[in-house]
């Protein structure tokens, strides 16, 4: 394989994982914008997506489109439950406490997933037959296309939702100023619920897209979730556009880094980048220069 | 003589809005300089730029003979410049006394190592801090509640606590963001007297305030801002009769009416009588 061919190979695998990071990063941003907390359970929504898809396809024998829709619904429900049953019940409004409720929920969910689905890796079939495709000398599978295509569709869908629907606009209003939004008659609590459901659904989608490539397991979301967070920071935490750019950028960086240097430290790259960004440009690569300093 | 605080051409824009547009003024030690102006005139932004909370996009700030533009807040505190906040910022988890003890942070020194080892020097300093803080509380009539959690104080007491805390270290200058907002008449009067006492001890005070009666009564100098620009400066009497100020406050009418005039009417003469 020539150098150019190898490079395009890295680019394709980088874009694929990058798309998944972008979806996870978007989930982080959604919840951060409405609640100002970091949701540590975001990665577990991703695990859940893969596991649910496995059960609905292999266990219940459903057709893929139906299984896909039900998985989105299922992970959105778990997201909503996190808001309604845990965060909203909290006695304390301290951000530290709220963030740690999501940490606890993450540990709890992981424990539940382990009981229900066991510890082993579960193979999920690709969305379409695995005939290898070739482009610019690189070989890739249709699943790569599914990942990038559905991610783009999800981003477009989010854009439409936030700019064109009343509910989407109400959620943006809550993100900007919850008190003013409440005074305008917006049901703030409902919007918080929606943002968790939406983040859950996005996590579920990310999980379904990646598990045919990685297999599903109860811990698959932990590392991918953290990388999604790194992507969100990279793009300027809270910015949707930044999340997408940060996700794709991180995916590419990781795949190039692993290919050109060493794959042993592939997982380390994201966190080194995260620390570097926090050090050099805390407002993120795309954020404006107004990062809140203490 | 060089004024204690010299502000030159301060500018800061948020997006397209010019919150401050080339504002310059001086403030002396042992004097009260009031900054007034309609809401959104840039008064709090000016305080935030001077106190290191914001970095101005243009302009320079000089304090006690050296440039301090954009200097971090804790460094300014060590130079003797501190501030209070519009929305109260008492340390609600700390006791009232401890709040004021934090006020002495800038002029005391014992660090982590001596704290961990509990060195005699550190214990001596702690005793001195506690005594000085208690004296500051007595000055403002808060000694009786010294050991209560600050979060339990009434709104008026918390306002006084902020002032006690800011004055505890005997700073050269304090920036006060609306020190009497939300206080009743008696509390406002007491606060005004406390400010005048601090001035008479030589502290320079810069206050942002909407209470015109108080401003006109205690100020030595008034700076008027409107839409980010300084439109007038002078002693209370000059400012009250400045046509541009009247236009800004009263929407173009030339004769003083309503609250502004009522405050003006009680003027500096009344203030001097009260404190003579």
């Amino acid at each position: 394989m020539s150098g150019a061919e190898q490079l395009s190979q890295y680019l394709i695998s980088g874009l694929t994982t990058g798309a998944v990071y972008a979806l996870v990063a978007l989930g982080f941003c959604l919840i951060y914008n409405t609640t100002h907390i970091v949701n540590f359970a975001q990665g577990d929504f991703l695990s859940l997506g893969g596991l649910l898809l496995y059960s609905l396809l292999a266990g219940a024998g459903l057709a893929l489109p139906l299984a896909f829709a039900l998985t989105v619904l299922g992970s959105a429900l778990v997201g909503a439950a996190l808001e309604r049953l845990a965060l909203r019940q909290a006695r304390s409004r301290e951000v530290t406490v709220l963030i740690f409720i999501t940490v606890a929920a993450s540990v709890f969910l992981r424990g539940v997933f382990k009981e229900v689905w066991g510890k082993q890796a579960l193979a999920v079939p690709s969305f379409s037959p695995e005939t290898p495709l070739r482009l610019l000398g690189a070989t890739f599978t249709p699943q790569n296309l599914w990942v990038v295509g559905i991610t783009l569709a999800a981003i477009a869908g989010l854009g439409w939702f936030f700019n064109r629907t009343l509910t989407g606009k109400a959620m943006r209003a809550v993100a900007i100023n919850p008190r003013a939004a409440a005074l305008m008659g917006i049901d703030v609590e409902r919007m918080l619920l929606y943002s968790f459901a939406l983040a859950g659904g996005l996590g579920g989608v990310a999980g379904m897209l990646i598990t045919p490539i990685t297999t599903a397991s109860y811990t698959i979301g932990v590392i991918i979730g953290l990388k999604g967070f790194a992507a969100a920071v990279l793009g300027g935490y809270g910015s949707f556009m930044g999340a997408v750019v940060g996700g794709l950028g991180l995916g590419l960086l990781e795949s190039l880094g692993a290919g050109l240097m060493s794959s042993a430290y592939k997982d380390v790259i994201a966190f080194v980048v995260l620390l570097l960004v926090l050090f050099l440009r805390p407002q993120g690569l795309l954020g404006r220069g107004e990062a809140a300093r203490v | 003589m060089e004024p204690l605080l010299r502000v030159e051409g301060l500018s800061l824009a948020f997006g397209g809005v010019k919150a401050l547009d080339g504002v310059s003024f001086n403030a002396r030690a042992g004097a009260i300089t009031a900054m007034i102006g309609p809401n959104g005139a840039g008064k709090t932004t000016a305080i935030n730029c001077i106190s290191g909370a914001y970095r101005p996009q243009a302009g320079r700030v000089f304090f006690a003979g050296r440039e301090v533009t954009g200097l971090a807040a804790h460094r300014l505190a060590r130079l003797g410049l501190t501030r209070t906040f519009q929305n109260l910022q008492v340390f609600s988890q700390l006791s009232v006394l401890e709040n004021v003890m934090v006020g002495l942070h800038a002029v005391t020194h014992q660090g982590f190592a001596s704290a961990i080892l509990r060195l005699p020097a550190m214990r001596r300093e702690e005793r001195a801090i506690a005594e000085q803080a208690m004296a500051a509380l007595e000055d403002l009539g808060l000694a009786a509640v010294a050991h209560r959690p600050a979060g339990q104080l009434s709104y008026g007491d918390r306002k006084r606590l902020e002032l006690a805390r800011a004055l505890a270290a005997r700073p050269q200058m304090v920036l006060l963001d609306e020190p009497v907002a939300g206080l009743n008449a008696a509390e406002t009067d007491a606060m005004g007297q406390a400010l005048v006492r601090a001035r008479d001890l030589g502290v320079g005070l810069v206050l942002v305030e909407h209470d015109m009666a108080l401003v006109m009564k205690i100020s030595d100098q008034v700076v008027v801002l409107s839409f980010g620009q300084k439109i007038a400066q002078g002693d209370p009497l000059q400012v009250q009769n400045d046509p541009q100020v009247l236009a800004t406050y009263l929407g173009g009418r030339q004769e003083p009416v309503n609250g502004f005039a009522a405050g003006a009417g009680r003027g500096p003469a009344a203030g001097e009588a009260a404190h003579a």
Binding site: A86, A90, V95, V107, D267, R293 | L76
Partner: protein, 318 residues
């Protein structure tokens, strides 16, 4: 001495007495071993609690600092033949340096970036341990670590290590309390409450937060070194992110930011796996569930519950 100072002295004396008589009550050396692990956890969690209580930040990387202390001590003493005490000192310096590198960029920022940075650092640490197997022994671990020695005697058996580790734990509590009752402690509590006001009064917020983070990491590093020289063998699994979550759980169960919270949490949660045999299988559900319930309904932990019960008694001085 202030009233608070007397109460602390009494509590500490009671604990010291408990530490003294415990070996007489415990016949089985296995339980002595559990008590030793408990003391190690008391040290780590007390340090973690300093960070939470003073800076309002949470670290999910304290298992990595614990592990760094253990591995650096192990490699320097076993591979390079350095005296274990010197190895421990070197490990502490390295831990402080790494904490500085992580804390400096993240603690300047508003919001809880430290959580993710420490979590990321913990993942990097585990990866490096597994990959650098020539140095660290990889997944199977590192063995043959020499014990510490005191007065010419090797601290090998459970009984002698018991005295050493509990003395260290008590010292850790005294240091934490000294910090709390000082000018810097007051500055730290102030900046947690209202950072802008603390800065305006002269508290260097970023430096203070970074300092307390380093001190907090040092507690973990020292405990890690003690751990390595006590067990003689260490493996990456003892220092992964799940252990970090357990440490934070102990902190929250005991009482976030309370002086005795670290002790209470570690004392309560360390023996649990030994008591509940089915525990390992349901560990995540248990830890997650306990944390959830506590955080939602009793965010002040056991220490908060204790304070509330005491407050219910009629006040002597009303």
């Amino acid at each position: 001495m202030t009233r608070g100072g007397r109460i602390f002295a009494l509590q500490l004396a009671a604990l010291a007495l408990g530490v003294l008589v415990m070996p007489l009550l415990v016949g089985n050396p296995y339980y002595l071993n559990v008590l030793n692990v408990m003391a190690l956890m008391v040290i780590v969690v007390t340090g973690l609690n300093l960070l939470i209580g003073f800076a309002g930040h949470i670290s999910l990387g304290h298992a990595a600092f614990f592990g760094l202390g253990a591995y650096i001590s192990a490699v320097l003493s076993a591979t390079y033949g350095l005296d274990p005490w010197l190895a421990m000192l070197a490990a502490a310096l390295a831990v402080a340096g790494i904490a500085l590198v992580i804390g400096l960029p993240t603690l300047r920022l508003a919001g809880n970036y430290l959580v993710m940075a420490t979590l990321g650092a913990n993942l990097i640490f585990t990866t490096v341990l597994l990959q650098l197997d020539q140095v660290t022994g990889g997944p199977s671990g590192f063995s043959g670590i020499p014990p510490l020695s005191l007065f010419g005697q090797a601290v090998v058996d459970d009984q002698s290590f018991y005295w050493l580790v509990w003395a260290a734990a008590l010292l850790g509590l005294v240091v934490a309390r000294n910090l709390a009752q000082s000018r810097v402690g007051r500055g730290l509590r102030a900046l947690k409450d209202a950072p802008a006001a603390a800065a305006a009064l002269g508290v260097d917020v970023a430096r203070y937060k970074t300092s307390i983070f380093i001190i907090s990491a040092l507690y973990a590093g020292v405990a890690g070194s003690l751990y390595a020289h006590y067990f003689g063998i260490i493996a990456p699994k003892s220092f992964d992110i799940f252990v970090s979550v357990e440490l934070v759980t102990m902190c929250l169960v005991g009482g976030m930011g309370s002086l005795w919270g670290g002790f209470l949490g570690a004392a309560f949660l360390t023996p649990l796996p030994q008591v509940l045999h089915v525990f390992d299988e349901y560990k995540d559900i248990f830890y997650g569930g306990v944390l959830l319930v506590l955080l939602i309904y009793q965010p002040q932990g056991l220490a908060g519950l204790w304070a509330r019960l005491r407050a219910r008694r009629p006040l002597e001085t009303a």
